[in-house]
């Protein structure tokens, strides 16, 4: 009886089927820790129009087919960084990946690779946040300046040097693209290295020396073997591989300069 009422309800509230003619199979990797021992695939038939994103497909599932499906999302416009997922094995922002590109074969959606799955498409991202907090991601002023003195001068050229690396939205697609992170999660990883580099390259900042310790360390840049896929999947053209590899050079320079100059003198 209750079920019937619910079904009735669903029918009424769904978009009229005449508007939507096509359906696409979406396979979703489900994992409900309170009932599943390991992740399982579940397929949903989702009606869609050509302008629908993968995220909208998931929202359709949640609204009309299975309310228990969990995933993160918010802005829908590729800036909040919430909705990173594996779409057919490729790390993608589901809000700017479109269902039409997978028609008629369908697609498979899984939680971001290389992170533990908390539930369904939600990953545990504590590790990423801890790394972010560990690199002093703020200006350590080269020359302190009072507010009354106004802004630091920074030419457009000086800004361009770090701007690209400041565009990271923390979506972690690059981590899902980095096999070295998958094999050794202690590796600081591409996105956080890009953030570190962003501050080191900022003309207002004088904190490079404090941050280089981590760059040199066992968990630092030399874990990278230049696979380059991180930059390939970055939705914001941050090119984290570039940040990592520039810092390999920097780290090597620091290492050799230590033989030439006494400790602390090298910069």
């Amino acid at each position: 009886m209750e079920l019937q009422a619910r079904r009735q309800n669903r029918k009424e509230s769904r978009p009229a089927m005449s508007e939507i003619e096509k359906t696409i199979p979406i396979e979703v990797l489900r994992y409900r820790p309170e009932q599943d021992t390991e992740p399982v695939l579940q397929t949903f038939q989702v009606p869609f129009t050509d302008d629908m994103s993968v995220l909208q497909g998931l929202q359709y599932i949640k609204d009309y087919l299975d309310g228990s499906l969990s995933f993160r999302w918010s802005c829908r416009m590729a800036i909040c960084g919430s909705c990173g997922m594996m779409v057919n094995g490729k790390p993608s922002l589901s809000c700017k990946t479109f269902l039409r590109d997978y028609y008629p074969g369908g697609l498979r959606i899984e939680a971001l690779a290389h992170f533990p799955i908390e539930r369904d498409l939600v990953i545990v991202m504590d590790d990423f946040i801890e790394k972010l907090e560990s690199i002093k991601p703020y200006i350590i002023p080269k020359t302190p300046r009072a507010l009354s003195e106004g802004e630091y001068l920074q030419t457009p050229e000086e800004r361009d040097v770090y701007e690209q690396f400041s565009s990271c939205i923390n979506c972690m697609l690059c981590y899902a693209a980095c096999p070295q992170y998958g094999l050794n999660s202690k590796f600081v990883g591409p996105g956080i290295m890009a953030l570190l580099h962003r501050y080191n390259m900022d003309s207002r900042d004088g904190g490079t020396e404090q941050r280089m310790e981590l760059v040199h360390s066992e968990d630092g840049v030399f874990n990278c073997t230049a696979v380059g896929y991180c930059s390939e999947v970055c939705p914001k053209h941050v090119d984290p591989a570039n940040a990592v590899n520039i810092n390999k050079t920097e780290s090597a320079k620091d290492y050799f300069l230590r033989f030439v100059a006494p400790k602390g003198a090298a910069k």
Binding site: S70, C80, S167
Partner: protein, 606 residues
């Protein structure tokens, strides 16, 4: 499967001095201000998402702050008060405009990558309704950069203890003052009482109560509803801003900076229709406060009329007009509006350097919110609010673009300092009795999941709410459709009691959170609809076509205040508007605006 919370109650306790709910721009700025006020104070910064996901991230165009020699604080004041159709608290606006620039400089010192001029100084751009260019910007990702700068800077302060992905379900009020909040950890479904001597709400707007909107999924009016349920009035809730240039269907935003940089709005005949609505003359490059650089309410209203006249273009998601950026050229667009370029290409398949972008208005911002004074203090002792969730009184009946990002900083800071002062002045509450209240809140929240006889689908209720809000509280409003909306929301509130949460689990149960959010949304929507129907005039973003087309300063130069009344309709009363130096005048733009300003100047010289 075990159902959450059956049997014994278990609430953990965390002792803080200040609890901040919401870690977007305002919450982070408040946390930093409180931490700097006194590093001994323990600050709990609670957010239902990781801070960098907060909706501040989506703000594009820029943030206001007077910097140019030929500009002045008076100009910014007049633009803001006039733009708000004189429904602003003028003393608060005066404080606001005086603080904006320092706050922008502060962000610069913290590393915000503001766009620069060749000499290294920050650059400013033109914005709608602003007489002189004073909008600081970081390309077209200003909110993103401000949010990340604030978040990353906040990491410097050890006294800020973040609760990321903790969902706030209630305030704890005892002895007439707020003494903490009850939060639900998304990852576990477990509850914690965060004891605090003062609480700042910084949860953002409520745009998701409407169908087509620019807002992220998280913008559900949580903080507004929580304060409201504890007797704090929501002020000026009828004023909901439609942004004139949004993506059809999804409502995604094409920033006002498109027009600030020289973009034009064209109807189906390629005609710059804004000149027909008192915004002309149409010149090649729009002058400030004219044509495409008019205020948002006027531009959205002009769209509505064009649609009525059949001069818009029919698209798959309703009528559209064209936002034409072609003349700006690809190189300039890539530099100044890179995100807009990508949005148009990826979501619409339109190359804005060669094809105009189809746009239509969508809900963008809630001008109203939790009633607070100039110190961000709500009428409930210990409670503060800042940012879009608050009504500190600077936006009036229509917000000017680039004032909201500035507001986050200016009033985020005020809220942080004031909440710190309050926290230092009062004694901690009684844990045992607060825990009892917290357990009640927990029971209330859990009852949504434990109940098994619900039949109403969350998505259905949400969609019906969003549709009726659009029908009744859109760009133009009519008494009978507003009444229908009020009735519909009343009905939905009843049906919500019978809501069915399909998911009965504890770990990352988003079905549950959506149900709680829907409850918040319905309360906020009800406050909006009833405030709207009771305002029998037209002002700013509240425009009626049923005999109340004119502004009525005699009866309605007043703030509406919606008071929560449980199951019943909210009680609406009115508060005074603080007028210091700008008497309500004719709100005109374009050539008419310049003429009106001349006359006002002459009048004041006599």
């Amino acid at each position: 499967m075990r159902v959450v919370g059956q049997g014994e109650m278990h609430v953990e306790v965390f002792e803080a001095d200040i609890a901040i709910v919401g870690a977007g721009g305002a919450g982070l700025r408040a946390a930093i201000a409180a931490a700097e006020t006194d590093p001994v104070l323990k600050i709990a910064l609670i957010s239902k998402v990781y801070p960098m996901r907060s909706h501040t991230v989506a703000a594009e165009g820029g943030s206001a702050g007077v910097v140019q020699a030929h500009d002045s604080l008076d100009h910014h004041f007049n633009d803001t008060v006039g733009g708000g159709d004189w429904l602003c608290e003028q003393d608060v606006v005066e404080y606001f405009v005086a603080q904006c620039t320092e706050e922008m400089v502060q962000l610069e010192h913290w590393g915000c990558p503001w766009s620069r001029k060749p000499d290294g100084h920050i650059n400013v751009r033109a914005f709608g309704g602003m007489k002189i260019e004073r909008t600081w910007f970081a390309a077209d990702k200003t909110g993103f950069h401000m949010l990340h700068t604030l978040f990353q800077t906040s990491i410097k302060y050890p006294s800020i203890q973040r609760f990321d992905e903790f969902f706030c379900v209630d305030l704890v009020v005892e002895d007439g003052r707020v003494q903490g909040v009850v939060v639900l950890e998304t990852a576990t479904g477990q509850f914690t009482l965060i004891k605090a001597k003062s609480v700042i709400i910084a949860t953002g707007g409520a745009g998701r109560v409407f169908r087509e909107n620019t807002n992220g999924g998280i913008v559900t009016g949580d903080g507004m509803a929580m304060a409201y349920r504890h007797g704090v009035p929501l002020r000026d809730m009828e004023f909901v801003q439609y942004h004139p240039t949004c993506m059809p269907g999804t409502g995604l935003l094409f920033t006002e900076a498109c027009r600030g940089e020289g973009g034009l709005l064209l109807n189906k005949d390629g005609y710059r229709y804004l000149q027909d609505y008192g915004l002309g003359p149409a010149e090649d490059k729009p002058r400030n406060k004219a044509m495409e650089l008019g205020p948002r309410d006027r531009l959205s209203q002009a769209f509505w009329y064009e649609q009525q006249k059949g001069r818009t273009i029919e698209g798959p998601h309703g009528s559209v007009v064209h936002l034409d950026l072609r003349h700006l050229g690809e190189a300039y667009l890539r530099e100044r509006l890179p995100q807009i370029y990508e949005l148009a290409e990826e979501f619409l398949g339109v190359d804005p350097a060669h094809t105009p972008i189809p746009v239509r208005p969508a809900v963008h911002y809630t001008m109203g919110g939790i009633l607070v004074d100039g110190n961000c203090a709500a009428p409930l002792a210990g409670l503060y609010a800042a940012g879009e969730c608050s009504s500190v009184g600077i936006h009036g009946a229509n917000r000017l673009g680039s004032n909201s990002l500035a507001e986050l900083c200016v009033f985020g800071k005020v809220a942080g300092i004031e909440a710190a002062k309050f926290a230092k002045a009062v004694a901690p509450g009684n844990t045992a009795s607060l825990l009892k209240k917290a357990a009640d809140s927990q029971r209330q929240a859990e009852q949504l999941v434990t109940r098994s006889n619900g039949t109403e689908r969350i998505a259905t209720l949400r969609k019906e709410m969003a549709q009726t809000m659009e029908d009744g509280c859109g760009i133009y409003r009519l008494g009978d459709t507003m009444q229908a909306t009020c009735n519909k929301i009343d009905e939905l509130k009843q049906r919500f009691k019978n809501v069915n949460v399909e998911d009965k689990s504890s770990v990352w149960n988003t079905d549950w959170l959506l149900a709680i959010e829907l409850g918040y949304q319905l309360d906020v929507a009800q406050a909006m609809a009833y405030s709207a129907i009771n305002r029998k005039e037209s002002r700013g973003a509240h425009q009626r076509l049923d005999g109340f087309e004119a502004r009525d300063d005699v009866n309605f130069l007043k703030h509406s205040q919606a008071h929560y009344a449980g199951d019943g309709a909210p009680r609406i009363d009115y508060g005074e508007v603080k007028i210091t130096k700008s008497r309500p005048g004719t709100r005109a733009y374009g050539a008419a605006g310049e003429k009106a300003e001349q006359e006002r100047k002459q009048a004041s010289h006599v």
